[in-house]
Symmetry: C2
């Protein structure tokens, strides 16, 4: 364990993929689906999105073990019309339901110029950015959203009513790397506040409130009955805009598909029981794809994207900042580094992996 990764163990990408695949198989997930689910988690670990990779494996494990996720779902289209359809995920892993539904959106884009799948009865699907990146391989513009367990207040509210509801979209380029957008509609992710608590640090104004609804700098006060604020935080920062974004994601993913929306979204945690009111099935995702060629010559578009990317990169940076990046750059840089040096996994997460290894007899190897 080199000093540059304190409190971490290094793994190769392959070591983590092998372990997670076998964990999913252990609970009866078919081999092909287990590899797919492992690929979604690996996307996060390999791209530096540490909150959404093997750090979440223990929760999938617990839910599978408790029989709260169906390892062999019968994923079915229950309604549709041309470019759009609704899918029932049969309470499968979001990591399996998600990629299959994204494929359906892509097939429709091929036939109808665009494709749209709203999904109910599904579970946590990993990093939202995985799905539009799938679409890039076919030169489609891909989009994904999901609602998530409540954790965020509506603008001017003091109670958690919405999830961190992310939006992801990606655009291919020609010689430049693609533009990959993936962000939560809250001011910050829950994980950032968790990390501050672990380090004993305070958090900036505008991230969260305590259980009374007062602004707080104390991570513990948010985590014990408080809530995250929407992107924009407050009136001065235009917090209504983050609320609007979370609303858009919640309605397209959950109301449109017949899933649990808003505060009723199924929790992604073994310790938390489902909410006392169910307004649909599971949580919801929303996937989209547009065929660029339906709008414009694909190569011309991609060459213009190169120009767009180079233009943005050439922006004079703010005093004290090194450069202007393109959405997707930080994850791409992390990928290059991690493929060379290995993937550093935090000690607490390694402990959870070791406990799963011990319970199942599946070997966990590291660098």
């Amino acid at each position: 364990m080199p000093d540059k990764y304190p409190n971490s163990t290094l793994f190769t990408a392959e070591q983590l993929r092998r372990f997670t695949t076998r964990i999913f198989e252990y609970f009866g997930v078919p081999a092909e689906d287990a590899a797919l689910a492992a690929d979604v988690l690996a996307y996060s670990d390999e791209h530096g999105i540490d909150s959404h990779g093997v750090a979440r494996l223990k929760t999938y494990y617990d839910l599978l073990k408790a029989g709260r996720i169906n390892p062999r779902p019968d994923i079915k289209i229950i309604r549709g019309k041309g470019s759009v359809a609704t899918v029932d995920g049969d309470n499968g892993l979001g990591l399996v339901v998600g990629p299959k539904c994204m494929e359906m959106a892509m097939e429709r884009a091929d036939s109808f110029g665009s494709g749209w799948i709203s999904v109910s009865n599904t579970n946590h699907y990993g990093a939202a950015g995985y799905y539009p990146v799938m679409a890039l391989k076919q030169d489609l513009i891909g989009l994904s959203m999901t609602n998530t367990t409540k954790g965020v207040v509506p603008f001017n509210g003091a109670e958690k009513m919405l999830g961190t509801n992310p939006v992801a979209i990606a655009f291919p380029a020609f010689k430049e790397p693609p533009v990959v957008i993936d962000f939560a509609s809250s001011a910050v992710a829950y994980g950032k506040v968790e990390i501050a608590r672990r380090k004993g640090e305070k958090v900036p104004e505008g991230w969260c409130i305590d259980k009374e609804g007062n602004s707080t700098h104390e991570p513990a006060e948010m985590m014990e009955g408080g809530a995250l604020l929407p992107l924009g935080s407050d009136e001065k920062g235009s917090g209504h805009k983050g609320y609007c974004l979370a609303t858009m994601v919640d309605v397209l993913s959950a109301v449109l598909s017949g899933a649990n929306w808003g505060p009723f979204a199924t929790p992604f945690a073994i310790q938390v029981e489902a909410t006392n009111r169910q307004v649909g099935k599971g949580i919801g995702h929303f996937f989209g794809a547009w065929d660029i060629d339906g709008f414009r010559d694909k190569t011309e578009f991609k060459k213009d994207m190169d120009d767009w990317i180079r233009t943005m990169r050439s922006t004079r940076p703010l005093p004290g900042k090194k450069e202007v990046l393109i959405p997707g750059d930080p994850e791409r840089l992390a990928y290059q580094r991690r493929m060379q040096e290995g993937i550093p996994v935090n000690r607490e997460v390694v402990t959870s992996l070791e406990s799963m290894a011990a319970s199942t007899g599946i070997p966990l190897q590291h660098l």
Copy 2:
């Protein structure tokens, strides 16, 4: 002029509509198109979006007078596939090109379950929210975006490279009013800084920077070579998310349609010459519509939206706040008030209307 509207003149909705229609006709815009353009501006004035109604008429007037906008455009589909198409707006008024393209998206949604129109060679299209509201009449989910003249920095940048690039989307409900979302991807609209300057007030941290890239509270420093910050403002507020949103809007509206993107977007002002580099034609819009019935029984969806709306409204408010609103509430309240009391128009804007009346001989009547 009652005291409750200081420095304002009151107009009926009809008085403003009649005047703006005749102004457009004066420059050769066909009667039907002139009424359509007036309807788009009226939507803003009647709903309290003062920055996007008759306050902008003088700019349309100047651009039409200077021959920089085509009053009789030949609006054409230049490419398409099933649910998607690209339109060349022939340098028409965005207020005319916009509604016609939104209709095309809605027709495609009727045939293919969803419809998508990317538009180049167009101009400023008024309030983004007008277009999804059109779709509500047919129980469609509507969406609109547009790129706009540069005024906003990319995250960590010190130069204007993107517009305030708004996103609008609307969802119908059953007994409750619809959810109508319409927001700029910058921290605040340019108009808010303008208003602060007029009142001699300072602006909060996080809204803008001066020409050196330093944070400023002085409206004048933003307006004289400075720039607006993206939604989220800075690193602590997740300003990269506003940059991501502006990027999404810019690419879908302008790169996909073949319009001028990013810093090359055609300025909406007579005093400002087009940028020295043209990368496409005019500015770009992007319109979308989804047929709810393709996903789910329309009435069930709308009843669930009622439930969603009532649930959000029931959120306990923050200390000191009266209530949690639904996106679209402020505009709906303004509409009710203005239809009863009249539309207050700021003195400076009234002066600009009077000058157009004097030059054209078109009478301007008020309450």
